[in-house]
Symmetry: C2
Subunit: 458 residues, 2 copies
Amino acid sequence: MASPAVSYARGNQQRFLNELKDLLRIPSISTLDEHKSDVQKAADFVAAELRRIGLDNVESIPTKGHPLVYAEWLHAPGKPTVLMYAHYDVQPPDPLNEWISPPFEPAERNQNVYARGAVDDKGQLWMEVKALESLMQGGGGKLPINVKVLFEGEEEVGGESITEYVLKQKTKLKADFALVCDTELFAANLPTLCVGLRGLVYTEIEAVGPKTDLHSGVYGGAAPNPLFALIEIISQLKDAKGKILIPGFYQGVKAPSQAELKTWKRLPFKEEHYRKTEVGSTVLTGEPGYSVLYRTWARPTLEVHGIPGGFTAPGAKTVIPARAAAKVSMRLVPNQNADDVLNKFKKFVKKLTPKGIQTSIKVWSRGPACVVGTDNPYILAATEALRDVFKKDTVFIRSGGSIPIVTDFQDVLKIPSVMMGFGLPDDNLHAPNEKFHIPNFYRGIESICVFFEKLGGK
Amino acid sequence: MASPAVSYARGNQQRFLNELKDLLRIPSISTLDEHKSDVQKAADFVAAELRRIGLDNVESIPTKGHPLVYAEWLHAPGKPTVLMYAHYDVQPPDPLNEWISPPFEPAERNQNVYARGAVDDKGQLWMEVKALESLMQGGGGKLPINVKVLFEGEEEVGGESITEYVLKQKTKLKADFALVCDTELFAANLPTLCVGLRGLVYTEIEAVGPKTDLHSGVYGGAAPNPLFALIEIISQLKDAKGKILIPGFYQGVKAPSQAELKTWKRLPFKEEHYRKTEVGSTVLTGEPGYSVLYRTWARPTLEVHGIPGGFTAPGAKTVIPARAAAKVSMRLVPNQNADDVLNKFKKFVKKLTPKGIQTSIKVWSRGPACVVGTDNPYILAATEALRDVFKKDTVFIRSGGSIPIVTDFQDVLKIPSVMMGFGLPDDNLHAPNEKFHIPNFYRGIESICVFFEKLGGK
């Protein structure tokens, strides 16, 4: 038997979808200055709706960048408090000519709504808002648990303002757990919870050799070359099989449990399909003895992203540059300590630096891995809610990437995040023809309703 | 006793210098479109003077870029024919605020003339013209040898037009040797001939991995990274001591003669001064067991000049790029074959390419080393001429760089070049406050007069 909230959601699906389309029509592209007022417009649209459905203290909080939207409802004493997160800004729509229908004119085809931001993340934000409306209506003006809402408009440009806000407003944002709706199902119709993210240490090794750029004809053979030095250093950080050679690097690495590994093996994952359609290389690479999912979700890695310096335009210039740099990052897994890894990295780079060259290391970002146990009460309730809605067992996955806000919630607010997302692997995030599968929009709303009802003890 | 030509040159020094200043006032910056007419103006200035002093068939030859200036005098049957080379274009003068006097308003200080192009190469071009005038005047309207003149206006932008012209006009340019005045003395008052240049093979290794740029969080551990592949490959091309590891690379390498090595040891070269003032690094590097001059003049080297690809702007982007490239060059010495070296390089890079990556190699330029024996009759005559003028023994040096036109003369016209230059190591080529030491301008004119007189049998 559907709860009153779920019944209400089912009865209002078409209106919910129409409202989402209105939100999708606002081109809230956070990275483009000329769309600054559109980002504000989207924030106002969302804030007005939170107010209309009955939340308290709704505010649009100005920042150095785009506004945050906050709202709360705290009238369920003794019940848990959730901090609900999503973002209302979107990626630019280029290349425009590859869109079948215009990016900011939502169109329906094959049970999908096509528009920039459909799934990332306006559709999932609106799921959260519409779940709150349904719960409020189904509960006679009351929610089953306490709710704090914090939506941002800078996710696609680094999310600096929300990080600052979380650091400053620990008390205001105090909650028992966060709900983050910005991820996807592992496969269509497969209820999925993401319970782990890798951490990240992103550095830039700067190398200095001669006092000025030199002619490689005149000085080649006597002058140290910072670019070659970086190559020498980085080639010794990782072997050809993907094993990282920094002394002590793997210290603390915690393997996933046997149970978790077993569930990964049951996931509908076809390596050859993944190689062909997602990576597109002739073979996949990485540490022998680990599956692709293990390697990308639960093994640390080291990558080079760019090597600024010297001459990189078309043609030939025979320069030995005075300086060069290399962007090198490491993905971390539980229970590696980011500071510890960084120190070991720094020490090893220093040791590998050849004579005649000075290196220094700039740190662009650093954060540990995030993992939530599948026996965590919020994960348990979410698991049950998804099973109820999808009529299927929930799968637990991890992601190899990092979601900075989840790290902030873990490190600053000390709360776990329930990453419950309803996108699909082929939803074209950040690409032309982004879409959201409409049945998933509806199932998302119902799942959140049931999830909160379970936590509220109904 | 000075010859009539040398006496004439001495009697006209001030006029010659004034004319050079007029040429220096023309801002013939070949790389800047807005100065195209100035480059033409400089060509016309030079052509007019060649006509005035009595050369035949003077022409300003239009090209796709800037004009070539040709002239000849071929009335010395049975005598050798020289092909005289210099260039009348100059580098841009930036940064302007570091010039003590404006770059195109020649100023005299401490027996130097300061201006852009003073030594590189208008001053040395004008030496050639004024030597011809002096010889013509001193010889009663006759020159001691046959003369062909070929001046270019694209040396600072690659010299493409003269290379094409040489290829097309082999018969017209037929000569016994070339005189190239675009180099420098090893030290002040030390008569110098450059008798060797290193060759160059300049390549770009292109590496392709995934079909598109990938997120290093999501795909790190499974997707091949073209940047890391390049690092792996290049790190295996050369060891930490500078030894190149390409199989067969050193095949054919001919060491300088014991006599040449002995003369290098007598050159006024101070390694510590060179390290501090020229290179500016904490130590010098390169193959153990070879002197700095040996390493930079007569040992092959391998350098990396730039690694385009991935993310190189300030900040952090977690990308595994679909493709990346590396500009890698090798300097060659006698008797390495450029094609042979290139083939060995290609084969080795292919062998080192890790799985999942495809590499291909683009060749930006390739040419062998150039060396002239010190027993060559033209070098012998030049040596004697310099000794007569400087009252000192001539030193023979090499240069680690390549001068493409010298390679063209060697490979296409099959003639050796006498590289007789009168610049000084501190003349600020390509930098603010470029200068030419005025006594060297005069000695250059006299040296060319005596050189040609000796070849003419006077």
